[in-house]
């Protein structure tokens, strides 16, 4: 069964080159990738994740608002009782923010210099298979 991944861009920045590169890498690794485009609210992302029944949400943010937006996504997921989705983050994210993001439930943060293989490998290893 292909792993289903939502690649989402919360917030207001207009840079989705990175998200698109990741989306393509995941597709090439045999996954089904839903890409939603720019400027998504956390509410839109969570509702989309529900309708698409994804196994993974990959959040990409380059605006600097990740400390607000990523935990907000986690909060909404929890409010909906969703615990089985793997959520990762990426973008220009300072190292010192990573522990707090992980504490909020982001499984891993992929900063600049991450290879596609790293991301694919992490998802394959950590995804919870549907039951």
């Amino acid at each position: 069964m292909p792993i289903r991944v939502l690649v989402a861009k919360p917030g207001l920045d207009g840079h989705d080159r990175g998200a698109k590169v990741v989306a393509k890498a995941l597709r090439d690794a045999g996954m089904e990738v839903i890409y939603t485009g720019l400027r998504q609210t956390p509410e839109q992302i969570v509702e989309t994740a529900i309708q698409e029944d994804v196994d993974v949400i990959g959040l990409s943010c380059l605006s600097g608002a990740h400390m607000t937006l990523f935990p907000k996504v986690m909060e909404l997921l929890q409010a909906k009782g969703i615990k089985d989705m793997l959520v990762t983050g990426g973008g220009i994210i300072p190292m010192e923010d990573v522990p707090r993001l992980k504490k909020a439930g982001i499984a891993e943060v992929f900063g600049p210099g991450t290879t596609s293989a790293d991301i694919v490998g992490f998802i394959k290893k950590n995804v919870k298979q549907r039951t």
Partner: protein, 311 residues
């Protein structure tokens, strides 16, 4: 509570999960699917097909918005192609529908074709049943967006929209073989571009030749989906087609035909698997090798498989 019952009570997560299980070919949900089928049949199912870049996703976004304004709930199944090499897929139809994503009267599902030819996925028909059971009054199926042979959508829907764009005279030529015959309504989208009249004339001429084979003379509309121009009129006429097939007793006949094709399709799949397992995979490989070595024609290979069965 079973998944089918949860779906019928409006549980969106259950609907989403059930569609995943359908896509995965999970056998354990058979009774749930039967349940859905027996309760279902309320939604008006609309297919939208046409070449890539014709504006199908944008048009569907506007159709859904119009229907929401008219108080209808809308389900959307957007099929995109899977990679023949990795099986992966990039599903991007939602990009143009994001405005609808938090509307609880809308349910959008992206679907990979998973190698299925014909413009829809194997799971599409059952996914439509799920959205029907979820209470979606209109269910829109967006096809992969290829060309001539993308006619499988007619096995899933009541009303077929074929979307074309002006300025590509050859585009209409290209679709005429298969798709032209299945369209109930034709939409010339991006109608602010040059060449609208030419496109309309060409379509009219081809439709003239088709006649009224389905008891309905296909209509042609001009839209600019981006701005929403022409959408209201288009929706009026999609409703008109739905009213007509119900009024003229065509619905029952169309359901019968669609079910017939679906049963045949499933039977073909099962029968092939049964025949192959009876013949034995190794013997089958040997047979294929003989065909490849040009000792045997494919016809005769099939004959051998059938003969063994008779014995």
């Amino acid at each position: 509570m079973g998944l089918a019952e949860k779906v019928a009570s409006g549980d969106r997560r259950a609907a989403a999960r059930l569609i995943s299980l359908i896509e995965d070919g999970d056998e354990s949900i058979r009774t749930e699917l039967a349940d859905l089928h027996c309760r279902g049949g309320h939604a008006h199912i609309v297919g939208v097909t046409g070449s890539p870049g014709a504006g199908k996703s944008t048009l569907i976004h506007k159709l859904a918005r119009e229907w929401r304004q008219r108080g209808k709930t809308v389900g959307i199944i957007a099929v995109d192609p899977s990679s023949p090499f990795t099986g992966g897929a990039l599903l991007g139809d939602r990009i143009r529908m994001q405005e609808l994503s938090t509307d609880q009267g809308v349910f959008i599902r992206s679907m990979s074709s998973r190698g299925n030819p014909g413009g829809v996925a194997k799971a599409t028909a059952d996914a439509v049943r799920v959205l029907d059971a979820l209470g979606m009054e209109k269910v829109i199926v967006e096809t992969v967006g290829a060309g001539q042979s993308e006619v499988a959508v007619m096995d899933v829907v009541h009303t077929v929209l074929v979307v074309v764009v002006p300025g590509l005279g050859d585009d209409i030529q290209a679709i005429k073989a298969g798709i032209l015959e299945i369209g109930d309504l034709f939409v010339i989208n991006k109608a602010d571009r040059d060449g609208v009249e030419v496109a309309q004339r060409e379509l009219e001429m081809m439709l003239e030749l088709e006649g009224e084979a389905k008891g309905w003379r296909p209509l042609i509309f001009k839209t600019i989906a981006r701005t929403g121009e022409g959408i209201g009129e288009l929706v009026d006429n999609i409703e008109g087609h739905w009213d007509m097939i119900k009024r003229e007793g065509l619905l029952e006949e169309s359901e019968r035909q669609r079910c017939r094709r679906e049963v045949l399709e499933l039977l073909k799949h099962k029968a092939v698997l049964a025949l192959l397992s009876e013949y034995g995979p190794d013997d089958f490989d040997a047979l294929v090798r003989e065909v490849a070595r040009r000792k045997l024609h494919p016809h005769d290979a099939v004959e051998k498989i059938m003969e063994k069965r008779k014995k």
